[in-house]
Symmetry: C2
Subunit: 352 residues, 2 copies
């Protein structure tokens, strides 16, 4: 047995997860001499993606949602984990290959049974494309942004798009695509460092810090003619202000409502009041999941375009890397609290 | 000059319109000896349709919406007015024909200029089809119901549909179509007479009186597996409860939010809290206007089917007729307050 540090989901949080109580780091052990599971394989892991949707899975299992509740006492499930194959009992997965595991535990070593083989993606390293890009722009986050913006948002050159959590993993990608496609791109962020990032690094048309200015004033000032597309990662007051400022036939892409995720049981979420605009302005408001067929159909186009854009340097992926499993809990909370710039990633070990 | 009683919009209401202050009935006169306007025609009117959307046009003209604000001091604009042509200066419109005027004043006699010709519909009376049907099932109300249910709702046999204001003009038609197409049809109404009507006359699967039972309890009881389609005429609490009970990929048809129309300026509308379901259940929520091309494309199918269903007696149109222009104000308020069963119509005179 060798040490296998893992980020553990200990108990169902009520409101913000409490370090040491709801979330811990523990050694769950790994038998490096055991054969791989029958038809499966084992990995040494390098990177684990953090994602706001993980918080939604830390819930009472009796509450239904699109993905099952996580099990307490086990490693936190991550949408994507990148590692190297140590041993394999499947002919398609070879020792030494770099793989991306989907919906896998946040742990230093993994033993996967044959059921994991079909969702495991073998990564062929490409010149100029860092491995972490497969957790962000070229991973689920990137598919989320690329697929939903095109499928639900139907962007046209000159459209005004407002993006909430604009410096976040999805927001920065949506914004960069929109800039490329000639939209008027407005970002909402919660600190000045992020505002500087979206304006100067990502070349958004404009943006505002919602902690420094009234949201209603900022939207009126930056989109005086109204909004064609609202890309919503947050919910809450900004959603309400956006509703009041949508143009006729506007589209609202419901990607997330992070403002509601950490509400304690007795908290009343922000009540949206301007929904009469749905009728008055004939809006379309639509939710999705990255695996839905209408979203997933954009995969090939995304893979080709985004790989090219990363390689030619025109697309930026800014990642927030938390170094080492010992810091896993604080990295996760930093993402939930909006302190991280770009895609939040936990680095377990240097790729060899 | 002869008497021409009209339903007049006197001043912008703040909250519920006040009879005698915001709305009155006045004689605006009609010169029966004058020629028709150049290229236009004159009518003696029989029926005027009431519609909740009229309230939305009684607003400060600086507030933009899909239809222009009404002008104070003039007759209340109605979506549809049915009358007989008295004199005509247009070759396509002949004396004695029955016509439907669109967006015309609520008045006993009308003089229409040539700009009205292209929106005027000549009605060919059909055996077994009452004239009032052209204000309801075969009018804009019917198009609203038929087009939006099919275009946005995408109903499939066995789907569970919840309809708010189910005994109202649009609601009763949506429900009857849904029953015909094999859906599980649940209606929400505000009194027991309406509940009896939707259950026994219209053959809805089930229904509830939201004034007698908690909405949340009623929806859980009648749709324990959740809702596929929510047809929303009302907004408010029922919308919030519906959001919490939508199935994955559910559709919300945003037809109206009558619960917000009569809010005074200082009233805070009901705040919808369960919008995180838009993301979690991948819902689509869409507003529309009956003139939008995607809705209007259902017109031919509606005309054919609904005429047949009225003639064979399988489709019921229950109208609430207010008798006489003197009662115009109370008929309008009755509609806004939900006291009328079915399509609200003002009868000015018996057809001759």
């Amino acid at each position: 047995m060798i040490e296998n540090k893992a980020f553990i989901y200990k108990s169902i949080p009520d409101g913000w997860p409490v370090p040491g109580q709801d979330l811990t780091v523990e050694d769950i052990g790994f038998d490096e001499n055991a054969p791989p599971p029958k038809g499966g394989f084992t990995t040494k892991n390098y990177y684990v993606a953090y994602d706001p949707s993980q918080r939604g899975r830390m819930r009472d299992p009796s509450i239904q949602s699109y993905s099952p509740a996580m099990k307490t006492g086990e490693p936190v499930i991550s949408v994507s984990v990148i590692g190297k194959v140590l041993k394999s009992d499947d002919p398609a997965i070879k020792e030494g290959q770099i793989v991306m595991l989907q919906g896998s535990g946040s742990e230093s070593y993994s033993a996967k049974d044959e059921s994991a083989v079909k969702t495991t993606q073998i990564i062929e390293p490409k010149e100029g494309v860092p491995l972490t890009a497969y957790l962000g722009l070229l991973g689920m986050t990137g598919m989320t942004a690329y697929g939903s913006l095109h499928e639900i948002g139907q962007p046209k050159k000159g459209d005004v798009i407002l993006i909430s959590a604009a410096a976040g993993a999805v927001g920065q990608m949506v914004g960069q695509i929109a800039v490329r496609e000639g939209l008027h791109v407005i970002g909402s962020v919660g600190d000045d460092r992020k505002l500087d990032f979206i304006l100067h690094d990502l070349k958004f048309t404009s943006g505002f810090n919602y902690k420094k200015e009234s949201i209603a004033d900022a939207v009126k000032r930056l989109a005086p003619e109204g909004i064609d597309i609202f890309y919503d990662n947050v919910g809450g007051e900004l959603l309400d202000v956006a509703l009041a400022n949508m143009k006729v036939f506007g589209r609202i892409i419901a990607c997330g409502s992070i403002s509601t995720y950490n509400n304690a049981k007795d908290t009343t979420p922000y009540g949206v009041k301007n929904y009469a605009a749905m009728v008055r302005r004939r809006l379309r408001w639509q939710g999705f999941l990255v695996f839905d067929p209408n979203i997933a159909q954009w995969r090939k186009e995304r893979d080709e375009n985004v790989t090219e854009w990363i390689q030619d340097g025109s697309f930026k992926s800014v990642d927030h890397i938390t170094e080492g499993m010992d810091n896993a809990v604080q990295g996760f909370l930093g993402m939930l609290k909006g302190q991280n710039l770009g895609k939040s990633i936990l680095k377990i070990a240097d790729p060899e």
